[in-house]
C-alpha cells in the first residue's frame, strides 16, 4: 500500500510556480532587455535549485510511499486530480533538474540571438521536466512529459548547429511516436481498472490488472518511454539530436530529458504493471546490454566531440535500463543513482564542450589538440567529466555503476560480464578523446583564445561539486533511494 504523506507546505508546487513566474516575466519583458531576461531566468533557476535542495534534505528517508503530497480536484468528470508527491526515486531527479536548470542558464550567458524566445522555451522545457518528476496523476504525467518535449523542436531548429533541421524533425517524430504509445497505454489502464481515476497511487493500490493487461501496458510504456531513454534500437535520434542542439539544450536534453524516459518506465510501467515488468525484464536486460556495447563501440569511431558524448549517453543510459531490468533493490538503487550521476556528468560534458566550441568554432577532435595548455581551466572541466564517464572511484557514477553491475551479475551473469567489458571500451574511447583534444600537440590557431572566466566557470564548478560530493558520500543518495526501492521490491508477487 503506497501511503501519501501530505505536505505541510506546498514546496513542490512552489518549484513549478517559480518556473512559471520566470516564464511569464521573460515573456513580458521586451525583446531587447537581454541581460534582464538572463537575470530573471537565472533567478528562477536559483530559486528552484534551492527548493529542490531543500526537498532533498527534508525528505524523510525512513518513510516509504510519497511525501510532500499535494492534492486538488482538477477535472472531477474524468477523475483527474492535481496530485504531486515525491519518493526516493524522484527526489534525486528533482535535485538533478534544479542543478541542470540553473547551470544551463548560466552556461548560455553569452547567447545573443533571439534571447527572449530561447529562455522562454528553455524554462517551459524545465517546467515540464519538474512536473514530470513530481506528478502522480497519469493525466499530468503525460501533460508534463509532452510539455518537456515540444520546445525541443524549436530550440534545436532555431539555435542549433550541425544538420539541425534533420535532427529536430527526427527527434520530434521519434519522441512523439513514443508518446503515441504511452497515451493509449495510460488510457487503457484507466479504462480497464474501472475505478474512474487517473491517480497513480490509487491505481497502484486498488486496481487489479490481469497479467495480460500488465504485460501489454508495460510493453507500450517500455517502448514509449524507452525511446526517450535512448534504449537500443530506438536510440538513433539521440546522438543526432545532442549534436545539433545548442549547449544548454544538450545539457538539459542528455542530462535530464533522457532520464524522464527511464523515470517514466519506472514510475508508470513498474509501479502500475509489476507483473509486466517481471515478464519483460529479460528483454529489457538484453536490449540494455546491446545498448551499452553499441554506444561504446560507436563512440570509438566518432570524430566529432559531441557525437562522442552522444554515444556515451546511449551507453550510460543502457546501464540505467539494465539496473531496472534486474528487478532487485540494488539494481533499482544503482539505476536511479546512475540517472542522477549521468545527468550531472553529461551536463558538465556538454557545458565544457560548448565553451570550447564557442571559442574554437570546431567540434572535430582532429582539429583540436593541446587545449590543456591554451585553456587549462576549460580542459580541466572536460577531464573531470571524462573521468566520471569512465567511472573512476570517488566520483558519483562509480557507485551507481557498481551497484548496477553487482545486481546484474546476480541476475544475468552473461549480460553483466558483457556490460562490464563494454566499460573498458568506453574508457578507451573517452580517453582517446582526452588524449587527442586536450593533450597532444597544441594547435597554434587557438593560442590566443581566452580561458573560462570565473563567472562562466560558476556553472561548471557547481556541477563538479555535485559529482564530487555524491562521489565521496554516496550514502546520501543510497539512503534516499533505498526505502522506496525496498518497498517496491517487497511488494512484488
Amino acid at each position: 500500500m503506497l501511503e501519501l504523506h501530505a505536505a505541510q507546505f506546498p514546496f513542490l508546487s512552489l518549484i513549478l510556480i517559480a518556473c512559471v513566474i520566470g516564464l511569464i516575466l521573460v515573456l513580458l519583458l521586451p525583446e531587447d532587455q537581454k541581460s534582464v531576461i538572463k537575470w530573471v531566468s537565472a533567478a528562477s533557476g536559483f530559486v528552484t535549485l534551492l527548493l529542490s535542495i531543500y526537498v532533498f534534505a527534508a525528505y524523510d528517508k525512513t518513510l516509504s510511499g510519497f511525501q510532500f503530497v499535494e492534492q486538488i480536484d482538477w477535472i472531477p468528470a474524468l477523475g483527474i486530480t492535481y496530485l504531486n508527491g515525491v519518493d526516493g526515486f524522484s527526489v534525486p531527479l528533482l535535485l538533478l533538474t534544479g542543478l541542470v536548470y540553473f547551470t544551463g542558464v548560466l552556461t548560455m550567458w553569452e547567447l545573443e540571438t533571439r534571447v527572449k524566445e530561447f529562455f522562454a522555451l528553455f524554462i517551459m522545457l524545465v517546467t515540464g521536466v519538474f512536473g514530470m518528476f513530481m506528478a502522480l496523476d497519469l493525466f499530468f504525467i503525460f501533460i508534463w512529459y509532452d510539455v518537456s518535449l515540444f520546445p525541443m523542436y524549436l530550440l534545436i531548429i532555431v539555435w542549433g548547429s550541425t544538420r539541425r533541421e534533420y535532427a529536430a524533425m527526427k527527434l520530434m517524430l521519434y519522441l512523439l511516436f513514443g508518446s503515441a504509445l504511452i497515451l493509449p497505454g495510460l488510457i487503457y489502464l484507466v479504462a480497464e481498472s474501472g475505478l474512474g481515476t487517473f491517480s497513480l497511487p490509487m491505481l497502484a493500490n486498488m486496481a487489479e490488472f490481469t497479467p495480460f493487461q500488465q504485460k501489454l501496458a508495460f510493453l507500450l510504456f517500455f517502448i514509449g518511454f524507452g525511446i526517450l531513454a535512448g534504449v537500443w534500437p530506438f536510440h538513433t535520434w539521440s546522438p543526432v539530436g545532442h549534436v545539433a542542439a545548442p549547449t544548454a539544450v544538450s545539457m538539459l536534453h542528455a542530462g535530464v530529458l533522457m532520464k524522464i524516459g527511464a523515470f517514466g518506465i519506472l514510475r508508470v510501467g513498474i509501479f502500475l504493471c509489476p507483473e509486466g515488468w517481471q515478464f519483460w525484464a529479460p528483454l529489457m536486460g538484453f536490449l540494455a546490454t546491446i545498448g551499452i556495447i553499441y554506444g561504446a563501440l560507436a563512440g570509438l569511431r566518432q570524430t566529432d566531440l559531441k557525437y562522442v558524448i552522444g554515444y556515451s549517453s546511449v551507453s550510460h543510459m543502457g546501464i540505467v535500463v539494465l539496473g531496472l531490468a534486474t528487478v532487485s533493490v540494488d539494481g533499482m538503487n544503482g539505476a536511479v543513482f546512475q540517472m542522477f550521476a549521468h545527468g550531472v556528468m553529461t551536463a558538465l560534458f556538454f557545458s565544457s564542450v560548448g565553451y570550447i566550441y564557442d571559442r574554437t568554432h570546431t567540434k572535430a577532435i582532429a582539429d583540436l589538440g593541446g587545449l590543456a595548455r591554451q585553456m587549462p581551466v576549460a580542459s580541466g572541466y572536460f577531464v573531470v567529466a571524462a573521468l566520471t564517464g569512465i567511472g573512476v572511484p570517488c566520483l558519483a557514477s562509480f557507485w551507481a555503476e557498481l551497484m548496477v553491475f553487482i545486481a546484474a551479475f546476480k541476475v544475468y551473469p552473461v549480460y553483466g560480464v558483457v556490460a562490464v567489458s563494454a566499460l573498458v571500451v568506453s574508457a578507451l574511447f573517452i580517453l582517446r578523446v582526452v588524449q587527442h583534444a586536450i593533450f597532444g600537440p597544441a594547435n597554434e590557431k587557438f593560442a590566443d583564445l581566452p580561458d573560462v572566466s570565473f563567472g562562466l566557470g560558476i556553472p561548471r564548478m557547481i556541477l563538479v561539486a555535485a559529482i564530487v560530493i555524491f562521489g565521496l558520500m554516496p550514502f546520501l543518495m543510497y539512503d534516499t533511494i533505498q526505502t522506496s526501492a525496498m518497498f517496491l521490491i517487497s511488494g512484488l508477487p
Binding site: 477535472i75 472531477p76 468528470a77 474524468l78 524549436l154
Partner: protein, 469 residues
C-alpha cells in the same frame, strides 16, 4: 415561439443584408453591420442556452444539445465575420450578398441541429449547402474558383441524393419520419440489411459536410478555390453542425455493432488518407483541408464509440476543432496578399512579421496534432478514452500513429513560421489591435482548454445528456 427567437433573429439579420444588397455598395458599412449583428446573435444564443421546447408538430426540438451547438455555431460565425474586415477575396459589390448567404447558412445549420424529423433535416441541410455552393463561387479573380465550386456542387448534390434514398429506406422501415419513432424501431432491426444500408446512406450527406472519406474529394479543391473566409467557415462552423447531426442520427442505432465496424473502416481510411495526402501539400489551405479530412476520422472515433462519453467527447472535439482551425485560417487571411492563396513558404519569418499570430498558429498546430497542454490534446484524450471504454485499444493505436504522421506536416508549417527567414519583399502584416486581442484570447482559450478543461467538459456533458444511449 419564444424558444425560436435566435433563429428568427438570424432570419431578420439575413433580411437586413438582403435589403442592403439592393442598396449602394459600401464594404465598410456591411462589415460593421455584420460584426454587430453576429455579436448580438451570439449573445442571444448564449442567453437562450437554457431554453427547452418542442415546436412545429414535434419536428423541431430545442434541447441542451441543440442550444449548446447553436452557441458554438454562432461563435464560429462571429469569429469568421471578425476576419471579414478586408474581404479581398470577394468583389466589393458582392459583399452584402456574401453576408446574406453566410447568415442564411448559419441559420440553416442552427435549424439542422434542432431538427428531429427526417424531412426538415433534409431541407435544412440543403439550405446550408446551397448557400455554401454560391459562397465558394464568389471568389474574385481566381480561375480555379469556378472549377472547385462546380466540383463541390456536384459531389454535394450526389451525396444529398444518396442521403435522400437512405431516408426513404428508413421511412419505409419505421413508417415514420420522426426520429423518436425511429429510435424505438431501429435498434432491434439494425441487423436487417435494408435497415443497415438505409442508415448508412442517410449519413452520407453529413459525411459530405464533415469531409469524411469517401466524401472528402471536394474539400481540398473547395478550400483552395473558395474565399479564405468561406473556407474558414466550412472548416469550423459547418463541421460542428455535421458532427452534431451525426451524433443525433447515430445514437438512433442504439449502439449497433455492424454500424460501428462500418464507421471504424471509414474513420481509419479518413485519417490515414487525410494525413498522408497532407504531407505533400504546398498550399496552406489544401493542407488544412486534408487535415480536416484526418480530423473527421478522429472525431468519428468518438462518435462510433457509442457511449455517453463518446458523445460528449465529440462535442468537445467540435469545439476544439473550431478554435484551432479558426486560428489557422486567421493566419491565412492575414498573411495573404489581396486575398490570394498562400503556400507554406509564404509564412517565412512570421514570428517577426506578426509575433502574436505566429504564437497562436504554433499552439493551434500543436493542438491539431494533439500535443498537450492545448485544447486539442484534451479533445483527443476524451475521444480516445471513449473508444477505450468500448475496448478499441487497437483503433486508438492506429489513430496515434496517424497523429505522429500529422505532426510531420504541422512541424513543417511551424518551421516556416519560426525558422525560415522572410524574403526581402515579404509584406509586413498589419494586425489591428482588435485582432491582436482576439489572438491573445484564442491563445488563452487554447491553453486553458488544455490544462483546465473542467468547465468545458461539463458543458459538453450537459449537451450530451439530452441525446443518449
Amino acid at each position: 415561439m419564444i424558444v425560436f427567437v435566435p433563429e428568427l433573429y438570424t432570419l431578420i439579420a439575413a433580411g437586413v443584408f438582403f435589403a442592403l444588397s439592393l442598396a449602394s455598395d459600401n464594404a465598410r458599412r456591411d462589415f460593421r453591420l455584420a460584426f454587430i449583428l453576429s455579436a448580438v446573435g451570439l449573445v442571444l444564443c448564449v442567453v437562450w442556452v437554457g431554453s427547452r421546447g418542442i415546436l412545429f408538430a414535434g419536428t423541431y426540438q430545442v434541447d441542451a444539445f441543440s442550444q449548446v451547438f447553436k452557441c458554438l455555431l454562432y461563435m464560429g460565425f462571429f469569429l469568421v465575420v471578425c476576419l471579414c474586415e478586408r474581404l479581398d477575396g470577394v468583389e466589393a459589390r458582392r459583399h452584402s450578398e456574401f453576408y446574406l448567404l453566410i447568415t442564411l447558412c448559419t441559420l440553416a445549420l442552427m435549424l439542422l441541429v434542432s431538427c428531429v424529423h427526417l424531412l426538415p433535416l433534409y431541407i435544412a441541410l440543403e439550405l446550408s449547402s446551397y448557400s455554401l455552393y454560391i459562397l465558394v463561387y464568389l471568389r474574385k479573380g481566381y480561375e480555379k474558383g469556378i472549377e472547385s465550386a462546380i466540383k463541390y456542387f456536384i459531389i454535394g448534390a450526389t451525396a444529398s441524393a444518396v442521403m435522400l434514398f437512405g431516408f426513404a429506406l428508413l421511412y419505409g422501415t419505421g413508417q415514420s419520419g420522426y426520429l423518436i419513432d425511429l429510435m424505438q424501431e431501429l435498434p432491434t432491426r439494425m441487423n436487417e440489411p435494408v435497415v443497415l444500408i438505409g442508415f448508412i446512406l442517410s449519413l452520407s450527406g453529413f459525411f459530405f459536410k464533415l469531409a469524411l472519406f469517401p466524401f472528402h474529394f471536394w474539400a481540398p479543391d473547395a478550400y483552395e478555390g473558395a474565399p479564405h473566409q468561406v473556407a474558414a467557415y466550412m472548416a469550423t462552423v459547418s463541421k460542428a453542425a455535421a458532427i452534431a447531426v451525426l451524433l443525433r442520427l447515430i445514437s438512433l442505432s442504439g449502439g449497433s455493432e455492424q454500424l460501428a465496424w462500418f464507421l471504424i473502416v471509414l474513420s481509419i481510411a479518413s485519417m490515414t488518407i487525410g494525413n498522408l495526402a497532407a504531407v505533400v501539400q504546398k498550399d496552406l489551405k489544401r493542407l488544412l483541408a486534408f487535415s480536416s479530412v484526418a480530423h473527421a476520422g478522429y472525431v468519428m472515433i468518438g462518435i462510433l464509440s457509442m457511449n455517453a462519453l463518446g458523445i460528449s467527447s465529440a462535442v468537445f472535439y467540435a469545439l476544439s476543432l473550431m478554435i484551432m482551425k479558426f486560428v489557422c485560417f486567421m493566419v491565412v487571411v492575414k498573411a495573404s496578399n489581396n486575398g490570394g492563396n498562400i503556400s507554406i513558404s509564404d509564412l517565412a519569418g512570421l514570428h517577426q512579421r506578426a509575433p502574436m499570430l505566429a504564437l497562436a498558429l504554433m499552439l493551434a498546430l500543436f493542438g491539431l496534432a494533439g500535443i498537450p497542454p492545448t485544447i486539442g490534446f484534451t479533445a483527443k484524450l476524451l475521444v480516445f478514452t471513449a473508444a477505450m471504454k468500448t475496448g478499441l485499444l487497437w483503433l486508438v493505436l492506429v489513430a496515434m500513429v496517424n497523429v505522429v504522421i500529422s505532426l510531420y506536416y504541422y512541424l513543417l508549417v511551424i518551421k516556416a513560421a519560426y525558422f525560415t527567414k522572410a524574403s526581402g519583399d515579404a509584406a509586413p502584416i498589419n494586425v489591428s489591435a482588435s485582432l491582436q486581442v482576439l489572438a491573445v484570447g484564442l491563445i488563452l482559450v487554447m491553453i486553458l482548454g488544455g490544462i483546465y478543461p473542467h468547465h468545458l467538459i461539463e458543458l459538453a456533458q450537459t449537451a450530451a445528456s439530452s441525446i443518449g444511449y
